[in-house]
């Protein structure tokens, strides 16, 4: 077979995306919209971790736990509900159903946009070629441009390896067979805290261990403190500045050796452990080294246009490094594809405009710089705060705990950051994300009319407070 004939048998695309998570499938759809002949290679589930084992199924679980909590407190709202119980199998089944529904939806979207879906495991094979392995069979596809969107998986630390039975990763924790009576969560980032919140609400005696000096360490210090207070009030035990030295499993439980910042050790015996100590990019078996793609500490190195340095090879989303957020991956995908397609006016992502949400109870959400980070960057700041207790809608909802904090540059009035804790703040944060992206100043936010009665009024009040003009406090 001569070279020409061989080439003609190879499927040729303008763009091939390896991975169909929120980075990959969004990149593929945008590419198709821009007229690129596009294929996506997926080894497992369309929609990636986000839809199948992350964002979406956890939200389904947390919704169940929220309703359970509310039903337990029904009398506070004048309702009676006695003998409120739950069936964990049904809760999990619902979560899986939601995930499957969305995965099907993404399949449909790809089809609708005429994106070719290739099932199998993709690997770079020379310039402009990806080999796809499926059930032992190998097929080559060629493309001018290749985007790596392979995502990430749970990080494991020496001595802290999951076994899938008593020591879980997020994936195991999503499909529990029963509710642990006691639980240790290692790591207090978004993933750890959401599972801690879920199982704690369902009655598990929950302990959280965090190596940093506060939980949710990427959030503003005041928000971390408020969250810790709220969780402890719900009965959660929290140990900050603490590491887990060792996990010893027996037939019935796990004994963890904890070491606090003074070097003092103690032991804790629990039913289950959830490891949530970060994630690591899926960079293996992709032929990266041969292709000349640099990998640094588990992540593909890219520039502001998601270029890897190897010609025609790009990387987006979790595999390309933090923040590990689905919406960051999607946005990177769009930027990367638009740059490839030569769309005018494309700009690199401004990471200070990426909002982050944690769906624990109470919820936490933020965008931009924390007060401390703003000061570190040399800003003189004006800080506004408004508590939920001062908001009519919050009180009517029975959610009087929480706060909205805003940070402005004193000189320019630029909104540098916004930080929230309390009911529904994950839905509120987008207001500030729009404001920040549009480069509004405090003046525009002050002149914006916020509807009454809503929780969003607190967003207005927080801005007013930064300038000594809050009305309801």
């Amino acid at each position: 077979m001569d070279e020409e004939t061989k080439l003609s048998m190879t499927k040729v695309f303008d763009l091939v995306v390896i991975g169909s998570g929120p980075g990959g499938y969004v990149a593929a759809i945008r590419a198709a919209q821009l007229g690129l002949n596009t294929a996506v290679i997926e080894r497992e589930h369309v929609g990636g971790i986000c839809l199948n084992w992350g964002c979406i199924p956890t939200k389904a679980l947390l919704r169940s736990s929220e309703l359970y909590h509310l039903m337990q407190h029904a009398d506070e709202y004048g309702l009676s509900a006695s003998g409120v119980t739950f069936d964990l199998k049904k809760i999990v089944a619902r979560s899986r159903k939601v995930a499957n529904q969305l995965s099907t939806g993404v399949n449909f979207l790809l089809k609708k946009n005429k994106v070719t879906l290739i099932e199998g495991e993709g690997k770079l094979k020379g310039k402009g070629v990806v080999s796809v392995t499926k059930d032992g069979k190998v097929e080559d596809v060629s493309a001018k441009h290749i985007i790596l969107a392979t995502g990430a998986r749970a990080r494991t630390l020496p001595g802290l390896e999951p076994d899938g039975k008593r020591i879980w990763t997020y994936k195991d924790a999503l499909v529990p067979e029963d509710t642990p009576k006691s639980l240790l969560v290692v790591g207090s980032g978004a993933i750890g805290i959401e599972f801690a919140s879920f199982f704690n609400t369902l009655g598990a005696k929950t302990t959280v261990v965090e190596v940093m000096d506060r939980i949710l360490p990427v959030e503003d210090a005041e928000i971390s403190a408020a969250a810790q207070k709220a969780f402890e009030k719900q009965g959660m035990a929290i140990h900050t500045g603490t590491t887990v030295e060792k996990l010893q499993t027996s037939k019935t439980n796990v004994t963890a050796t904890l070491k606090d910042k003074d070097g003092k050790t103690s032991t804790l015996t629990v039913d289950r452990v959830i490891l949530a100590v970060g994630i690591v990019g899926n960079t293996e078996n992709l032929g990266l080294e041969e292709a000349g793609v640099n990998v640094d500490r588990g992540h593909v190195v890219i520039n502001e246009w998601c270029e890897t340095g190897a010609p025609g090879v790009y990387a987006i989303g979790d595999v390309a490094g933090p923040p590990w957020l689905a919406h960051k991956a999607s946005h990177e995908g769009v930027i990367c594809v638009e740059k490839i397609a030569g769309v005018k006016g494309v700009h690199p992502m401004d990471t200070s405009n990426i909002p982050g949400c944690t769906y624990c109870w109470p919820q936490v959400a933020s965008v931009g710089l924390t007060e401390a980070a703003a000061k570190d960057k040399g800003h003189k700041v004006k800080v506004g705060r408004f508590p939920f207790i001062g908001n009519g809608k919050a009180i009517a909802l029975g959610e009087p705990e929480g706060m909205i904090k805003t940070v402005f540059d004193e000189k320019t009035g630029e909104l540098l950051g916004a930080h929230m804790i309390g009911a529904e703040v994950t839905e509120l944060i987008q207001g500030y994300a729009v404001a920040k992206t549009m480069e509004t100043t405090e003046a525009d936010l002050m002149h914006t009319i916020f509807p009454h009665p809503t929780l969003s009024e607190m967003m207005h009040e927080s801005v007013l407070d930064a300038y000594g003009r809050a009305l309801h406090i």
């Binding site: 006016g345 700009h347 320019t412 630029e414 480069e439 509004t440 100043t441 003046a443």
Partner: protein
């Protein structure tokens, strides 16, 4: 990186200035607050202070350079540990963080306590250029504020946001010199009715028959503003004659009692009479502002003072609230400092009404050009003995002709006449203005 020191905008109307004199040399260290240069602006000479400390690496604009555009780099400041070679490659072609790098030396302002801040006087003349043109500049709120703080005209910045919107990064790039502003002509185009550049060769003057004198900043401003006023403002002049004998007698009497504490001039009486007349007829104390007119609360009276090479109009703020002695003292101080070109911008910018007095030159009467945004100007002629008819008989009186030029967009003939009736009343019966 070397920091460019920029030509500062010392007043809202300043577009260019003359770098009169450097007070530091290349290689000299400067600390924050050191006076580094003198700049001759539209109407005054100002000192420029260094804001950052460092070493003057290179002087880019020599002593005596005229027409230096605001925000042009005039020198490069080396930071700690840098040497002159660092300047090579550093962009000096575009404005950097304008007003933040140089500050006008703060001089004690002798303005009276009651004087309002100049910004509180609505003044169309300081409206941003882009707004005058009526063109909407697409820019984010933050970008607008950053540009204003950096003293950069946002209309001159190329936007890179959605639909060409000017966003923060564009202003930062413009102020750091990373990218150029659109050519200066783009800015010039949006200034309406700017005096056209006139070429000597176009005037039909024979070469060699004249000396060509460059216009200084003040002359250029006078040329532009007076041309604008004559072209834009429908002037009409109204003249009356005022008998001065009572006023001269009162002046003599008051000055005799002064014991050296004050010496009132005829002009001081004219200022006071004008202020009181403006309170009686507020319609003359007005500024045309497009869709609206501004009726000013106070009579802030600008008085033209002839100085070498031109004139300047220091302002007696809230003249209606000042007595003759107060007016007299303020005027002496302002006039003296005006001749030395040491007035601060807030002492000559703004105002609601002007007075131009050429009586001392023997001018009998004239009509003056309105100094926008003022609604009127009073031209004062010489007080001289003239024959007058009194009770059917000829008599001799000291008579002064005054001509009020009025902006017909804000007031009409009858209103101007009414103002002159009150003015004449105060002058001819001066005791009433002592009330």
């Amino acid at each position: 990186m070397p920091i460019p020191i920029l030509m500062p905008a010392l007043s809202p109307t300043m577009e260019e200035g003359t770098l009169a004199k450097w007070l530091v040399n290349e290689g000299e260290s400067v600390a924050s607050g050191d006076v580094i240069a003198e700049i001759e602006t539209d109407k005054a000479t100002m000192e420029v202070e260094a804001v950052d400390e460092g070493v003057i690496g290179k002087i880019l604009v020599a002593d005596g350079s005229e027409g230096v555009k605001v925000n042009t780099p005039i020198a490069m400041l080396l930071e700690d540990g840098e040497n002159a070679s660092a300047i090579e490659g550093a962009s000096i072609s575009a404005p950097a963080e304008a007003a933040s790098k140089v500050e006008v030396a703060e001089q004690p302002t002798p303005a009276p306590q009651s004087a309002p801040a100049p910004t509180s006087t609505p003044s169309p003349s300081v409206t941003p250029i882009s707004a005058v043109a009526g063109e909407r500049v697409k820019a984010s709120p933050l970008a607008k504020r950053l540009a204003a703080q950096a003293g950069i005209d946002i209309a001159a910045i190329q936007g890179t946001g959605p639909g060409g919107r000017v966003v923060k990064r564009d202003v930062e790039a413009a102020s750091s010199g990373a990218v150029g502003l659109t050519p200066a002509t783009a800015t010039a185009e949006v200034i309406p009715l700017r005096a056209p550049e006139t070429m000597p060769t176009d005037l039909g003057v024979k070469p060699g028959t004249y000396e060509e004198v460059p216009l200084d900043g003040m002359r250029k401003v006078i040329a532009r503003r007076m041309t604008e006023s004559k072209q834009q403002v429908p002037h009409f002049p109204l003249t009356v004659e005022c008998e001065m004998d009572h006023l001269l007698a009162l002046r003599k009497e008051l000055n005799a009692k002064a014991d050296g504490a004050y010496k009132l001039s005829v002009n001081d009486f004219i200022i006071r009479a004008s202020a009181l007349a403006l309170k009686k007829v507020p319609g003359v104390n007005a500024s045309y502002a497009g869709e609206t007119m501004l009726l000013h609360h106070h009579a802030d009276i600008a008085v033209a003072v002839a100085i070498e090479g031109g004139l300047i109009t220091p302002i007696i703020w809230q003249a209606e609230n000042k007595g003759l002695q107060d007016i007299s003292e303020s005027m002496k101080d302002l006039a003296a400092r005006a001749r030395d070109r040491k007035l601060m911008p807030e002492e000559y910018q703004g105002g609601t009404f002007s007075i131009s007095n050429l009586g001392m030159y023997g001018i009998k009467e004239f009509s003056a050009i309105i100094n926008q945004p003022h609604g009127a100007i009073l031209a004062v002629g010489a007080g001289e003995q003239r024959p007058v008819v009194k009770g059917g008989a000829l008599a001799v009186a000291t008579v002064m002709s005054v001509t009020l030029s009025v902006d017909h967009r804000v007031s009409d003939g009858a209103l101007g006449a009414e103002w002159l009736k009150y003015f004449k009343g105060y002058i001819e019966d001066p005791v009433t203005m002592l009330l």
